[in-house]
């Protein structure tokens, strides 16, 4: 018999990422949710699966569901370098190369024995709550899961904001569905009676946390910005966009985070990066599009090495748009749930997305816009070049375009991305140092748009 020779342990030390207290707290929260999911069965709890944009977390909590969010699972697997294998497995199972890699990472994880990103087992859900906004692939995704598990699916249809505003009819339509389909459905599956006061209580907590989150995200208006509104913000939005919105833990997390950021402002510090405090702030950018999760740190490094800080991003609003005033409202619980779903970033039309970016450029005094277009997401990527042109035209600020993927490690070409980013930073610098473009007035005054 052949002797088995064990593979030698890699001697290269894994780089240790520097994190502040709030980041560690965030990680704890996320890990805790995975533990709760793993123990849900023993604890006699039912499990729900739902999406991030416009999710109904407070409502799900009213029925004691443990809450799984397949997108978050996919991105967590991406950051932990596990998604590559899952995607290949799903492709072997018959899913096309061009399909959303979140879907394939999720399906691949199921095929691989349903072990979640943290190593805890993932339970089979009892209900799929499809409150999708903006992405039709999500519907197919849950069809596949339903087919696999044969479990009930509740669908909340959220009308698209085609006119750039929420019509009262739209709100009523969503509320009606909540009352007639979603709440009775969740009652039936969970066996728990709906209590609107419980929902109000969760919403009170949500609103507090939302207030602190907005304060943190808007701190990037300072110079230097104490946060990175893209790479840093994805940590900050973790709890509130997922299973913790409405919990006292999330409220505590956001007040801690806010205090930490306020301290940084007092000390005149820039953002925290995995390699410590960022050096001089040379470029202030707005970023549109999701990050690449599989090369997250390499991608971020390309920014902080050049002194580029993202002062605001649209991605940090995908799970809910709070900075223009929306808060969960305990006095009108169902209506505010409807407004929340209707108002999240992926439910906005292109003109609204363009307005939002132009406002960010103005309010955060950004040098320009960078778009990260995602290869496997036609839904998010459609119209991005139009956004780019329009923003350039209105603001007179330069924009650039790069292409990567969500969680498919095969679609991150470091040399290509770096080349474009460096070219972009140098372009911004050149425009600035020559003074050309400095006096360019927006074609349309932003205030009138």
């Amino acid at each position: 018999m052949n002797a088995v020779v064990p593979m030698p342990e890699s001697r290269k030390a894994k780089p240790v990422a520097i994190k502040d207290d709030a980041m560690n707290l965030q990680k704890e929260l996320i890990n805790r949710n995975y533990r709760e999911l793993a123990e849900a069965r023993q604890a006699g709890r039912k499990v729900s699966a739902t999406f991030v944009p416009g999710n109904l977390n407070e409502l799900l909590m009213c029925f004691d569901f443990a809450r799984s969010l397949p997108e978050t699972n996919a991105l967590q697997n991406g950051m932990r370098k596990k998604s590559g294998k899952f995607i290949m497995d799903a492709e072997r199972d018959g899913h096309s190369e061009d399909v959303c890699t979140y879907v394939k990472a999720d399906l691949g994880m199921m095929m691989g024995g349903e072990i979640g990103p943290t190593g805890d087992p993932m339970p089979r859900p009892d209900v799929l709550l499809l409150s999708y906004t903006g992405c039709f692939t999500f519907m197919k995704w849950f069809e596949l899961i339903r087919h696999k598990y044969d479990i009930p699916t509740l669908m909340l249809h959220v009308p698209y904001q085609s006119q750039g505003k929420i019509d009262p009819n739209m709100r009523q339509y969503v509320v009606k569905q909540l009352k007639e389909t979603i709440i009775p459905g969740l009652e039936k599956i969970s066996g728990v009676k709906f209590d609107i006061d419980r929902l109000r209580q969760y919403m009170k907590e949500s609103a507090k946390a939302e207030e602190d989150l907005v304060s943190v995200l808007q701190s990037a208006k300072k110079r230097p910005s104490p946060i990175d509104g893209y790479f840093g913000a994805v940590y900050y939005i973790g709890p509130i966009f997922t299973a913790f919105r409405g919990t006292p833990e999330a409220t505590h997390y956001y007040s801690t985070l806010r205090a930490e950021i306020e301290q940084r402002i007092r000390e005149g510090k820039g953002p925290v990066t995995p390699e410590g405090d960022m050096g001089e702030e040379k470029y202030r950018l707005i970023v549109e599009g999701p990050p690449n999760w599989t090369s997250f740190r390499d991608f971020w490094k390309m920014f902080y090495d050049e002194g580029a800080v993202v002062v605001s991003s649209t991605y940090s609003k995908v799970g809910g748009l709070y900075d223009f005033g929306f808060r969960h409202d305990p006095d009108n619980p169902l209506e505010s749930l409807a407004d929340y779903c209707l108002g999240c970033y992926t439910n906005l039309n292109l003109p609204s997305r363009i307005d939002m970016i132009c406002k960010y450029i103005e309010e955060y005094e950004a040098d320009g816009l960078l778009i990260n277009s995602v290869k496997s997401c036609n839904s998010f990527s459609a119209g991005q070049l139009l956004i780019l042109r329009e923003v350039e035209k209105r603001t007179g600020k330069p924009a650039a375009f790069i292409e990567t993927d969500l969680v498919d490690p095969r679609y991150f070409s470091a040399a290509n991305v770096k080349n474009r980013l460096e070219s972009y930073f140098q372009m911004v610098k050149q425009k600035r140092t020559t003074g050309i473009g400095a006096n360019v007035k927006p074609v349309f005054p932003i205030a009138q748009v």
Binding site: F401, Y411, N416, N419, S423, Q426, M427, Q430, T434
Partner: protein
């Protein structure tokens, strides 16, 4: 005199341009990028400065009127003689390196015989060397590897046959030695070679020898002028390899934008089709880049595509354009994917289509791809400048001219014969501006390597 140098470390070739304080281009140099970017950068820079010497010779000699009427002939002869000197030195180096490698080659009992064959090959190579640089001699390439390589292979084959030595032993020695030789820099010997070449030129052109004193003085004057590398800026995919700080590095986008602007001050849109990528750049009236787009994820429609097609067709890269120009029928090739294009090409051949028509279709496919990238960057505006290696290909230019007209109407399309140097020219201009406009001084250039 103060020189400002731009080096463009491309994936296939490395280009350098030297300019003076008044932004006059004084010299250009090009070399293959090889496996070693450091050497490529040094060689290209040396070549550009050497080319600069010739530029200065011309200036100095025309001022003295010593060679009235025969200046061009004289300088051409001098350059040939110089190249010949350079070639002979490198050949001697190759000879020595091959001998050294023979000692460790494990040819066993055949070693002695191979050594004799090798000596014979080099004897013939040296004998033929001058004819390679004779007036009117045509060379397919100016790179030592290519010139010496093709000679070595041809002579080696005959010698091996006649002496009963194995040809692959000779090939093995060449392969092992050429990389060493081409990665050596001969910068120190420029002056020596120029002086030796001058003697040869006087011998070759006896009528100029009569005016020796008048000719020699200005040439030596130029040789005694130090070409100071005042400031160097690097660009291209290999830029990170250059031994100087970030301040001295600019992205290719910026360099191509500015280079095109320097060549044609009214340029608004620039298309650069390089070996690995295609870039569409919009520049403002000052040569400042306003926006840009690049091809995504694959080399579809780049210079490499043509290289691949040339390999598939067993042709030289430079033969593709002329062949496509003979096309009489429009054939659509839809694949801009490098690999699929091979399949489409074979399919078309199997259907009986003519090679020239297929070639024309392939060129059009590349340009169609570039049109999409141009559209993404904001479209084509007057004046439009086409740069990069593919701009030398007449079939690509033809397809581009047609498609630009169809889509954007009558625009001025600029193509400079030296377009391959656009990026290096932009870099050199950045270097010149850094010193002349911003008052920067050169830092210790070789710091990183010291």
């Amino acid at each position: 005199m103060r020189c400002f140098i731009g080096i463009d470390l491309g994936s296939t070739t490395t280009k350098a341009v030297a300019i003076d304080e008044n932004q006059n281009v004084i010299g250009r140099g090009i070399t293959n990028s090889r496996s070693n970017y450091d050497t490529a950068a040094t060689v290209a820079k040396t070549e550009a400065l050497l080319n600069g010497r010739f530029y200065l010779f011309r200036q100095a000699l025309s001022n003295t009127n010593a060679l009235n009427g025969s200046l061009n002939g004289f300088l051409e002869q001098l350059e040939r003689d110089f190249r010949s000197e350079q070639y002979i030195e490198q050949l001697a180096d190759l000879d020595e390196t091959c001998r050294r490698n023979l000692q460790t080659a494990h040819f066993g009992a055949a070693t002695g015989q191979v050594g004799e064959a090798l000596a014979e090959v080099f004897r013939q190579l040296q004998q033929e060397a001058p004819s390679l640089f004779a007036p009117g001699a045509k060379r397919k390439s100016d790179f030592f590897r290519d010139i010496a390589g093709s000679q070595y292979l041809a002579i080696g084959e005959t010698v091996a046959k006649e002496s009963g030595t194995r040809y692959d032993f000779l090939l093995n020695l060449f392969d092992r030695s050429i990389i060493e030789v081409e990665n050596r820099v001969y910068a120190d010997s420029v002056r020596r070679h120029l002086l030796a070449a001058l003697e040869r030129t006087f011998a070759a052109l006896p009528e100029t020898a009569a005016r020796r004193a008048q000719v020699e003085a200005p040439i030596k004057g130029v040789l005694d002028t130090e070409l100071e590398e005042t400031y160097v800026v690097g660009t291209g995919y290999g830029r990170a390899r250059l031994p100087f700080s970030k301040e001295h590095i600019r992205s290719e986008i910026l360099c191509h934008g500015l280079g095109a602007h320097v060549m044609y001050p009214k340029t608004a849109t620039v298309l650069d089709i390089g070996g690995q990528d295609t870039k569409a750049i919009q520049v403002d009236p000052n040569g400042i880049v306003e926006s840009f787009q690049m091809n995504d994820r694959c080399a579809a429609g780049c210079g490499r595509y043509l290289g691949y097609i040339a390999d598939e067709m067993n042709m030289g890269l430079h033969e593709l354009g002329p062949m496509a120009m003979k096309s009489t029928k429009a054939i659509r090739i839809n694949s801009t994917c490098t690999v699929f294009a091979g399949a489409e090409l074979r399919d078309r051949l199997a259907l009986g289509d003519k090679r020239e028509d297929i070639m024309a279709g392939l060129h059009r496919a590349i340009i169609l791809r570039a049109m999409s990238i141009l559209a993404r960057s904001g479209g084509i505006r007057d004046q439009f400048t086409f740069t990069g290696g593919v701009a030398k290909n007449e079939a690509a230019v033809k397809a581009l001219t047609e498609l630009v007209f169809e889509n954007y109407g009558q625009l001025q399309i600029n193509i400079d014969p030296d377009s391959i140097y656009t990026g290096a020219l932009g870099a050199a201009t950045f270097a010149q501006r850094a010193v002349m406009d911003e008052g920067k001084t050169a830092e210790a250039k070789e710091e990183a390597t010291a």
